[in-house]
Symmetry: C2
Subunit: 245 residues, 2 copies
């Protein structure tokens, strides 16, 4: 499994992803699931991936034109004219990778399935956030649904739904996502530390702040420990059930 979130704020985007991949519970590894492409002053793109690791790595490889010699590469993901076209490029690429994997071999697209979150900005356009399906089509985050989760989204959703505010700062959003990830990490072994976090400031068109959070990260430890206490306090503040009422 995997857990990744892309969150749209009024001031930009916040991304967070875990790094665990597993084939069964007895074969786990650490792989980065966050990829960035930046041309300063022109575009800044971030991609989060969930699903079959061979598929997601192949998609990123094709986007970066790894099949060409290093000096001949001119990745189209650095040339798309708009965020919409970029989402279409990623969607077409994942569809192509899944088609090739399924061809002449194992049937069933779900085997090779992968889902992506793409966010960023291209000069002249707005900051946008997309969810891209294995079928290659995609949806965009709106004011009504300002965030996307991929992978194991259930444990960590209630706190985002309740505490999200489009005006929140990057620092508050980082706290929100760490609480959401902490709830998920405690309940699903297939989501694991370290986490990758990135901020993108609307209009900046450059690589945003980035941080890798491992189990020794003091802020993560603070959140993880104090969220339990804060939840208990919140719970204690509610009136108890009265069977006679």
């Amino acid at each position: 499994m995997t857990y990744c979130v892309g969150l749209r704020l009024n001031r930009g985007l916040v991304f967070m992803s875990d790094t665990r991949t597993n084939a069964g519970v007895d074969n786990i590894s650490t792989f980065r699931k966050m990829y960035s492409w930046v041309k300063p002053g022109e575009r800044a793109l971030t991609l989060l991936s969930a699903g079959n690791l061979a598929t997601t790595q192949a998609v990123v490889g094709m986007l970066e034109e790894h099949s060409k010699a290093a000096d001949e590469r001119n990745p189209s993901i650095l040339e798309t004219p708009s965020m919409f076209q970029t989402a279409r490029l990623v969607g077409d690429t994942v569809k192509e990778v899944i088609r090739m994997a399924a061809e002449g071999g194992q049937k069933g697209e779900s085997t090779f399935g992968a889902t992506f979150i793409l966010g960023g900005q291209i000069k002249g356009g707005a900051t946008r956030l997309f969810l891209i399906y294995p079928e290659g089509n995609f949806i965009e985050a709106t004011r009504d649904t300002p965030f996307f989760q991929i992978g194991e989204h259930k444990y960590g959703k209630p706190i985002i739904v309740r505490a999200y505010d489009p005006d929140m700062s990057f620092e508050e959003a980082a706290k929100l996502l760490l609480v959401s990830f902490d709830s998920t990490l405690r309940s699903n072994l297939s989501v694991g530390l370290p986490l990758d976090m990135q901020f993108y400031e609307d209009g900046s068109l450059k690589q945003g702040f980035e941080r890798r959070i491992d189990q020794n990260d003091p802020y993560y430890r603070t959140i993880s420990d104090s969220w339990s206490d804060a939840l208990k306090t919140a719970f204690a503040s509610l009136p108890p059930f009265d069977p006679r009422a």
Copy 2:
């Protein structure tokens, strides 16, 4: 889907279940998923069900010997010598119902699958809580894992894991389960009001307190409204992320 919880406390058991059944999202109905059998002074049993409604109703029908004339019934669930034997009876019954449904018709046991939580006490024995699988085997709640959830368990699990205390009162436990159900109801359309709640006091060997909670229930409304605020306050009490740290 469904959401049911059975919780073991030092003072007894607490049960809660939703009432929504659905075939797709465009065909929903309300069915009770909590069943009780009581012989005052001798036994008190409560069963919660999740899964195929035809299977769960058939299991309950067979346990109550609905196939016999009303005056010839002598349900074996009122005669088992121990909670362990009662769990075995329920397990054997579900296995039999699934076998009959699959025979000569559609294959695949999962189609007819159902899972149960059984709790209660029989005179001379301890209060016990079991989770019974579609395969007919079962596990018992222990001090390490003092509760069972069936159906859509993910959204409502983090708060139970964090706020549960074996010494809590029935009133506190009712509050805990309502918070857990509220988180689930907000995220999964296939879990729906009204809810059924029941307490069983260890050693009482009688029908415990029972309450049906619908959308107009004032306590449920209080919990639902104030939990959002309490969570926001709890979240605000954590220190924000500091990118310079």
